[in-house]
Amino acid sequence: MVIVRPSLAVRLGALELAYPTLMGSGCYGSGEEYAPFADLSKVGAIVLKSVTRAPRLGNSMPRLVHTPAGMLNAIGLQNPGIDWYLEHEVHKFAQRPCKVIGSVAGFSVDDYAYVCERLAARDEIAAVELNVSCPNVESEGETFGCDPSLTGAVVRAARATTEKPLIVKLSPNVTDITAVAREAERAGADALAVINTVRGMAIDVDRWKPRLGNITGGLSGPAIRPIAVLAVYEVARAVKIPIVGQGGIETLSDALEFFLAGAAAISIGTANFTDPRIPERIVAELDAYLLERHLASLSSIIGKANVAFSTPHEYEGDEG
């Protein structure tokens, strides 16, 4: 009997990945930091730390707080700025044994377009992710990703600068994530990353002060997984473009939740801080899972728990 190995390859628009695992932006550096501890050839793609137009020193310390089943972070987008980045960093990415996706952050629509255009001009960059969880300083500081029309404006501006696959990373800090998802799709996104961190805060009760230098931060890790699974489930019903599911994925079972909810690929961030061997383990276990069930590829499971894929179904809101 011939055993046909299942394929773990996925496509996000024109972006073809050998494995369905992305390493989350801001959690994996540029990959070099983890190269001694993980086999990067078994990684679908590394999403780089978000880069901005000008260099940023980032927030004051403390920037991290470990919380039950996760962590809060407020790094403040510390990065060297796009000029330095293009000159000193990007050429190194050609040596990575996996694809590298740039991540762009900005504080105006024009910022996004500018950085996106310059980054996407480089062959080392396989695709661009737009981190729209930033405040719009040209207006009242509202977060781009919390407003469908602002998100649309950013995506349209970025779209006009490049043919490279564009992934838009959605913020969960919204009332209706599907409205933002639809607008991003309409504006030309090739894929959606769902979700970015959830806003949160921790207070030091001995000192009567916030624990983070920035006061508020973004929660990641298993604590946000159910929020992320629901977001993927809902967005999958709302759009046709592929979804990169993320938020607290640490095990095969976590990954399967996201695929079954409708994600075409997954991203692993905070779990690398627990154990950098986790992404490779998930890939091996996914392979075994498909093999055991005689499934030829991941597409056989994507969205299978999402009732919208089989029967149109109006659901009644939350229980309890």
């Binding site: 801001g26 001694p36 501890f37 310390m61 403390p62 991290l64 330095w84 905070t270 154990d275």
Partner: protein, 274 residues
Amino acid sequence: MATLTHHARVHATRVIERREVAAGVVLLRLDAPELANATRPGQYVMAIPPSGEAAATALAVYEAEGKLASLLFFVIGRRTRELSALDPGDCLAVLGPLGNGFDCSQRARDVAILAGGVGIASVLLCAQRLLAAGKRVRLFYGAKTRELLVDAQRFADAGCELILTTDDGTLGMHGRVTDALAISPPPEMIFSCGPTPMLRSVARYADELGVPAQLALEETFGCGVGACWGCVVPLTAASSQAPGFPREDRRGSDVVHARICREGPVFWAHELRW
């Protein structure tokens, strides 16, 4: 600082001994020949709690000799509690050795090591290296109370001159290590590890007397390997440890943020802008 060629990797170690050296302080000896061989003074590992349910945690490599490497830690929270429950024979995966350690090759002949609390874990290899180079090494070692001055004899046996202090006066001088240092003849160089308030006062002392000081900083880590920028300290841009990074356009500022886990954890006190 001693910039180290990176031999870091994942080490699958085995626990050979676990001992509670004082209430809430655990010594974990590991069978880890390659780690022991590669580790330099002041370096640390990220230890992966075996349950897989919590982030890896930074711990200094205390002893490194032959096939043995050890960790000495205070049980303060979930992860250190989990590590403290390991038994001989259990496996423990660690990433390391990590970070840029103490520069023990400096010319100073008469040096002082200042250790506060569990900071002692970071300085044994340093003391051994300095003694082996024939230097006079005074160890100023302070803790809350006498029971927490763990393993002091070990340093004395190795050849350090001991000056002990306790916050409650139960052993040695009643006061802090920096108080003891202030009334002693100044050393030519200081090596120090301990809680941040102590390191700040070491830095003040070093500045006042013009003694160069190497400080091993401690901070809450995320990745521990330089990937997340969660562990930074303000550093003068002129430092050789400043990341090759353009400055944010802030008028007159010469400060950059260096990662404690990657550019550090050991920094020159006079280069910190904290």
